[in-house]
Every structure is written in structure tokens, then in C-alpha cells.
């Protein structure tokens, strides 16, 4: 129970600094916490503690502040790959957002403004660490080698789609890339990630689990319970919170009354790091350190990346209904993870404006080529609708499948059969 003694030290420092008379310290049993008593009645005021600062090393102008240790562990090739993935993701978002507007796909969610936290974190993980995502973490999957074509096929729900056309667009998943299939219900993946981390601990396989979620999802009961389980059951899991200021239209100020998500760690015995999510280098360093910590200690860690959701929540949302254009522009132009990282690469002579133009052109072309291929592929057979409900198909589902088959024999002209295998 070393964590409790640490906690106690922290508490006692605060208390003694505020000249509180600590009359007794009692330890009840091996499993109970340290309790202390005071003869002075006071209400503990959370606003008296200063906000946890966000760790940042890359300036908006692209200079590395503080020490230069980042470049000691990240080589040029990795830096360029990180940049490339961010640009590819950004170009894909632009094209696919428009595609949805044209009715080519039913739904889309961009990652605009959050590319840095995806790529910075993914690059610092072991490629076999298990990822549970919310839905705005496409860059993590891209970093791991999930191809543009695989993504496009999922968006179109064609025969190449990982989910066989069953889920809405953007609900990616890949066993090969250790990326658990995304589902829509928010925060459900958090306690699941803890369970997987517990299984990894029992296997002692040297891997960790990382679970991504937004600051809105952090309000769900599943989020609290996941943190509590991870702490008491001592699981090697990183809780990566993308705090982008909004949950659809709800600003963070209406989401929580405390100091964000990182501060919640203290009450649950969980270590935390807050990081500038638009600083790729800081996110990388933070995840590298967090990974070592959770693996070495079999303890969870909360990592809160402060960022901004530059795009609309989704294609079903018009964010101008609840926030100002100038606010968005401020982040888009002056605190943009891609721009900041690009400035660094330019300063270091690792990159040039010509290369940048070429990369954007190529990325856009890759998206367009992938769209073309995806649009030409058929959708899975309607029979797929009955597959994988169970591992085996029970008799009543076989009967229902037969019912559809018989029905289609009579009414086939009323169904889009030509689009399906």
C-alpha cells in the first residue's frame, strides 16, 4: 500500500502548511486507509489548490522549450512518419466530410485539431499494446498501418469492411493492429480496457492497455467505475482523455466542476499527467513515461490531453449554433498541432514547403483513389445480417434467414439486391 503512504505524505504536507493541528494518526488494519484527525473543523475547498499545469515543450513557433531530450529518443524517420500520418488524416477528413455532404457516405466524424494527440500517443506505445478507442482516434489506427483503403471500405460498408457492413461509419476495428472495434455507447470501453489490462497482468506479457475517451464521456458512470477498478485491482492501463472543450454542444464548464479529468486521479489513488494535446512532442514524451510507469508498477495512470475540437462534432452537427467562429479560428490558425509540428520540422531542416505541398497532394490523391475503389466494391450479402450474432447460428436464426430468402424470391425488385454480393 505504498500509494497510500504517498497520498498521506501529500495530504500531510498540505495540512501542515496550512497550520492544521494534526492530533492523531491511526492505522486501522492492513487494508484500511490511514486516517488522521483534527480538532479544527474545516471544509476542504477544491479551488484552493492551483490547477494542474499542462506539460508542454513545443512552442507555437516550433521551438523546443525546456530540455531537448525529445530528439534523443525520437529519430528523424519517426518524426517524419508522425507528420505524414497527421497530414494524411487531415486530408482524409476534408475529403470525407465533403463526401458525406454529397450523400456518398451516411455519416462522418473528423479529427481536426486533435491529430497531434493521436499520433504522438500512438508513436510512443508498443505496436502490440491494446487500444480501446471512443471514435475520434483515427490517427492511432493509421499510425499502426491500417490502410486508407481499409478505412474507406469501413466508411462505405462494402465487402472489404472490417465489420462486414454492420456498424456506422468511423466505427473501425482491427485485430491485426490490436485496436478493439469502436462502439457508439460512450465510456463502455473504459471498464473493458481495465479487464483487458488485468488479463495482461496475469499473463505478464509486457504489454499495456490504453483507452481513449473524451471529457464528456468521462462523466459517465462507466468512467468512474473503470478508474476505481483499475486502482483497486492494480491494472496496467493508461486512461487517455482527449479534453477538447466540448461534448457536442456542451462546453466543458457544464461538464464538470473540478479541475478537469486529471485531478480526479488524486481521489482514486491514480497518478496523472496533464499535457498540451496540440504538442505532439509533449504527448509523445508523456505517453513514453506513462507506459513505463504503468508497466513497472501495475498501476493505472490518467493522461489528460488539453486540445480543441476544431471541426463540428459530426456531420450531423453544425457547431456554429453554439460557439463563435473566432474561437475556432484561434485554434485553427494559432494553435494547430500540425502547424506547430511542421514549424519544428522546418526549423530542423527535416522538411521543406515543397515537400509539404507534395505530401498534401499525394495524400488527397490517395483518399480519392481509395474512394473510387470503395465505391466500386459491392456490399456484403444480405445473409451477413444473420452471421456472428452468436458464434454458431441457432435454429431460430436459420429459420429467419430462410424467411428472408423466400421473401426475396417473390419481392426481389423492391430491394437493392444489385448492390450486394
Amino acid at each position: 500500500m505504498i500509494e497510500y503512504s504517498k497520498l498521506w505524505r501529500a495530504v500531510s504536507t498540505v495540512l501542515s502548511a496550512r497550520k492544521v493541528c494534526v492530533s492523531r494518526v491511526a492505522k486501522f488494519s492492513s487494508t484500511s486507509k490511514l486516517h488522521n484527525f483534527s480538532n479544527e473543523l474545516e471544509i476542504i475547498d477544491p479551488t484552493e489548490k492551483p490547477n494542474v499545469a499542462a506539460y508542454k515543450i513545443l512552442g507555437n513557433d516550433g521551438t523546443i522549450q525546456g530540455n531537448e531530450s525529445y530528439f534523443a529518443q525520437v529519430d528523424n524517420e519517426t518524426n517524419l512518419k508522425m507528420y505524414k500520418v497527421m497530414v494524411e488524416l487531415s486530408e482524409m477528413d476534408k475529403v470525407m466530410y465533403e463526401s458525406q455532404r454529397q450523400g456518398r457516405i451516411s455519416f462522418y466524424m473528423t479529427s481536426s485539431g486533435e491529430e497531434g494527440s493521436h499520433v504522438g500517443s500512438a508513436a510512443a506505445l508498443d505496436p502490440e499494446d491494446l487500444v480501446y478507442a471512443q471514435y475520434r482516434e483515427t490517427g492511432v489506427l493509421m499510425w499502426r498501418g491500417f490502410t486508407m483503403q481499409q478505412m474507406m471500405d469501413q466508411l462505405y460498408g462494402n465487402i472489404g469492411s472490417s465489420d462486414k457492413g454492420k456498424q456506422m461509419p468511423v466505427h473501425y476495428g482491427s485485430q491485426e493492429h490490436s485496436f478493439v472495434t469502436i462502439s457508439s455507447p460512450l465510456a463502455t470501453q473504459l471498464p473493458q480496457a481495465v479487464g483487458s489490462a488485468y488479463a495482461y497482468k496475469l499473463k505478464n506479457n509486457g504489454k499495456i492497455v490504453i483507452v481513449y475517451f473524451g471529457e464528456g464521456a468521462a462523466s459517465e458512470g462507466d468512467a468512474f467505475t473503470a478508474l476505481n477498478f483499475a486502482s483497486t485491482l492494480e491494472c496496467p492501463v493508461i486512461f487517455f482523455c482527449r479534453n477538447n472543450g466540448y461534448a457536442i454542444s456542451t462546453p466543458a464548464s457544464e461538464q464538470y466542476g473540478g479541475d478537469g479529468i486529471a485531478a480526479r486521479g488524486f481521489g482514486l489513488g491514480i497518478s496523472a499527467i496533464r499535457v498540451d494535446g496540440n504538442d505532439v512532442c509533449a504527448v509523445y514524451n508523456a505517453i513514453k513515461k506513462a507506459r513505463e510507469y504503468v508497466l513497472a508498477n501495475n498501476r493505472p495512470l490518467i493522461l489528460e490531453a488539453m486540445t480543441y475540437r476544431v471541426g463540428h462534432h459530426s456531420t450531423s452537427d453544425d457547431s456554429s449554433a453554439y460557439r463563435s467562429k473566432t474561437e475556432v479560428q484561434e485554434y485553427e490558425l494559432n494553435n494547430n498541432p500540425i502547424q506547430r509540428f511542421k514549424s519544428l520540422l522546418l526549423q530542423r531542416k527535416l522538411w521543406s514547403e515543397e515537400q509539404d505541398k507534395e505530401l498534401k497532394k499525394q495524400s488527397k490523391q490517395l483518399v480519392l483513389d481509395s474512394i473510387k475503389k470503395s465505391e466500386s466494391k459491392l456490399k456484403p450479402s444480405w445473409k451477413e445480417m444473420f452471421q456472428d450474432v452468436y458464434h454458431e447460428m441457432p435454429q431460430h436464426l436459420k429459420d429467419q434467414m430462410k424467411e428472408v430468402e423466400d421473401h426475396l424470391k417473390i419481392y426481389k425488385e423492391h430491394y437493392p439486391l444489385k448492390n450486394h454480393v
Binding site: 491494446l130 469492411s161 473493458q192 483487458s196 488485468y198 488479463a199 467505475t225 473503470a226 483497486t232 450474432v389
Partner: protein, 366 residues
């Protein structure tokens, strides 16, 4: 295999009352052991001991298996995990914080990563906080991922049904809520021998299973149980008493009432009842039920859960659709009323033998 011995006089529940059975609305008649499936020792176990023995078998054979929930570490409030933590270690048999949604979410994650997860919900009445994790997540995991990921290694155990004085939150039978969820298997045993075999099948099954254990049977039901590992089929209803005039369908505790009622009907009315234990609620054994309904032409379904949208409604509708020409009378449902499960009124609430007996009288005179 060495079995952990039990010597429990009574069981104290978390809420602090003693679950000693006050009155009995049923008579337990032991199941005969199928000697074909076992070569080893056969021991007299009550139902909680049979369940402990099943989990003992699994923890011994499957090194990835873990058992967890509220208070399972010291043996569980119903003693189902007694001695298992000492035998297999606190990393494999452990307490979780008091959160049902956490328990099931955690169990899904274990299963996704390949571990065998046996989650306990302390009472079926408290499974509802985990409803989202069960219905939206566990049930749909394989389907939505195109079979890339699944939580088929997850089994959820929960004590269910009436106990004499459990009132609103220690008596519920929530099977119908889950029967409406494709992707789940829902199973309810009627005694120790079935409980062990079915639980082992649920744990082995490659789909998420909910195993509801009628808590009144934990100590009341005692019979011969093989100590070695054995499985019983999940998709098979049992015909406990063959008959020709009326089909009586139930599950869990209700089966024992129906068996007794069949005897009363034979003796007092000269009516031959066929008693079926449905065993599995989802998927359910349509063939056995339809064959019986076609043979007898009269069907009574009895369950403790409320009438409206109870699982009896699904059975009645399906039987009506598939056996229409054979039916001689409307299908009757004898169930709990459409009220919360009451405390002092329990004797008036449950579908006891007199209510079932009267239904037989009416259906044969129709």
C-alpha cells in the same frame, strides 16, 4: 478431486438479514444422475456446493479462468465460491468494488483478451446497472466487429427468483429483459446436478451467457452430483414427466411446483400432464415444446416473473403460431402479477401449486 467441504448453518446477505428459508412453496425431488456421463465420484451436494464444485473444476483446468464480483473472495454471500480464493489465489478469485456496470465491463474486457471470465452479480435484482454493458456491449461484440473481437468467454452468474421474504429487490426474475437481446444465452437450472453441468457448459460456450441461479434452491435442493467435469446441453429442454393431456412449461424453482401439480392433477382429476423444464430461455428449445403442444393440445406456462411481456408471452405466441391446428384450448399463463414483488404478500403473489392446479382444471374443461 478433493472437494472443499461446507458446513454452513445459514447465510447472511449483504443487507443484513438471514436468508434461512421460512416457508416452502415447493417440494424438491432430486434429479437422477446420468451415470453415462461420469466415471468418478458422486457426492451429495446442495446447489451452492454443486456450483462451487463446477467453478473448482474450471479454475483447476483453465489457468486463464478468473472469478470475481462483490464479496466472492471470502466465499460469497451465498457461499458459492467458498474456499476457492484459498485454493487458486487472490489474483484469480477476488472482490471487486461495489459496481455492477464495472463488474460486467471488466468481465467483457477480460474475455476480449482471451481470459475465461466468471462474473458474479450478487442478486439478479442488481443486474440492471450493468444492463448497458450486457445488452449494448456483451451481446453485440461479435456481431458489430465482424467477428474480429468477442466476449464469448464471459459467463455472468446471478441468484434469482423468490426466496420467501426477499421483497422487491431480492426476488426478481429478470430473464425476459434479456430474452429480447440477440447475442446472449440465458440459462436457469432447477437443481444441483443440472446447475453444475449447465454452468460448465455456459463457461465453455463461446457466447456470453447469463446463468440465473434460483437462490431458494441453494441449500434446499440436495442430490447426487458427479465431482468430475461434465457438461449438459444449453439448447435442450427436459421432459421431466411425460403426459398426454396438458403440457406444463416452467423453469427454475417453478419446475418443482409443476411436478407436484402434475401429481395432483393425475390423482384428483385423472389428467395426464407433461412437465417440461425449459432450461434455456435464449435460445429456447422450440422442437421439444412444439412436439409436446401438438401432442397434448393444451399448454400452461408458469413463471414467477410478471405476466405482461414475461417470457410466457413469447412461448404462447410461438406455440400459437406453430401448433394452431392442434390446440384444443387457449394457452394459459400462470405467473406473478403485474406488480413489484411484494414482501408480506409473497404467498398471494407467486404462481403456486393451487393457482397452477386451477389452471389445469380450467384448461381441461374448456
Amino acid at each position: 478431486m478433493k472437494f472443499l467441504t461446507h458446513n454452513i448453518k445459514h447465510v447472511t446477505c449483504i443487507q443484513g438479514f438471514t436468508c434461512a428459508r421460512a416457508s416452502s412453496h415447493f417440494t424438491y425431488v432430486p434429479d437422477p444422475v446420468d451415470t453415462k456421463i461420469t466415471s468418478g465420484n458422486v457426492t451429495k451436494f446442495n446447489m451452492f456446493q454443486a456450483i462451487t464444485n463446477a467453478m473448482d473444476n474450471v479454475l483447476e483446468q483453465d489457468k486463464s479462468a478468473v472469478l470475481f464480483g462483490e464479496d466472492v473472495g471470502f466465499g460469497g454471500v451465498f457461499r458459492c465460491s467458498l474456499g476457492l480464493r484459498e485454493k487458486y489465489g487472490k489474483h484469480r478469485v477476488f472482490n471487486t468494488p461495489l459496481s455492477e456496470q464495472g463488474i460486467i465491463g471488466f468481465g467483457i474486457g477480460l474475455a476480449v483478451s482471451g481470459a475465461t471470465a466468471i462474473a458474479e452479480i450478487q442478486f439478479a435484482d442488481y443486474i440492471f446497472p450493468a444492463f448497458d454493458q450486457i445488452v449494448n456491449e456483451a451481446a453485440k461484440y461479435r456481431y458489430r466487429s465482424g467477428n474480429l473481437f468477442s466476449c464469448g468467454n464471459l459467463t455472468i452468474r446471478a441468484p434469482c427468483m423468490a426466496v420467501g421474504h426477499g421483497a422487491l429487490y431480492h426476488s426478481q426474475s429478470p430473464e425476459a429483459y434479456f430474452a429480447h437481446t440477440p447475442g446472449l444465452k440465458v440459462v436457469i437450472p432447477r437443481g444441483p446436478y443440472k446447475a453444475k453441468g449447465l454452468l460448465l457448459s455456459c463457461i465453455k460456450d463461446t457466447n456470453p451467457c447469463i446463468f440465473f441461479e434460483p437462490k431458494v434452491l441453494y441449500r434446499a435442493a440436495v442430490e447426487d452430483v458427479p465431482e468430475d467435469y461434465y457438461e449438459l446441453p444449453l439448447d435442450k429442454a427436459d421432459i421431466l414427466i411425460p403426459g398426454t393431456d396438458v403440457t406444463l412449461i416452467g423453469w427454475g424453482t417453478q419446475v418443482h411446483i409443476l411436478k407436484e401439480v402434475a401429481g395432483m392433477a393425475k390423482e384428483q382429476l385423472g389428467v395426464s400432464c407433461e412437465v417440461i423444464d425449459l432450461v434455456s430461455i435464449l435460445p429456447w428449445d422450440r422442437d421439444t415444446v412444439f412436439q409436446s403442444a401438438k401432442k397434448t393440445g393444451r399448454v400452461i406456462v408458469a413463471h414467477e416473473a410478471p405476466l405482461t411481456s414475461g417470457f410466457g408471452a413469447e412461448l404462447a405466441a410461438a406455440i400459437q403460431e406453430n401448433c394452431f391446428l392442434s390446440l384444443e384450448a387457449p394457452i394459459r399463463r400462470v405467473t406473478g402479477y403485474d406488480t413489484p414483488f411484494p414482501h408480506i404478500f409473497e404467498p398471494f403473489y407467486i404462481p403456486d401449486k393451487w393457482r397452477c392446479f386451477e389452471a389445469i382444471k380450467q384448461i381441461t374443461r374448456y
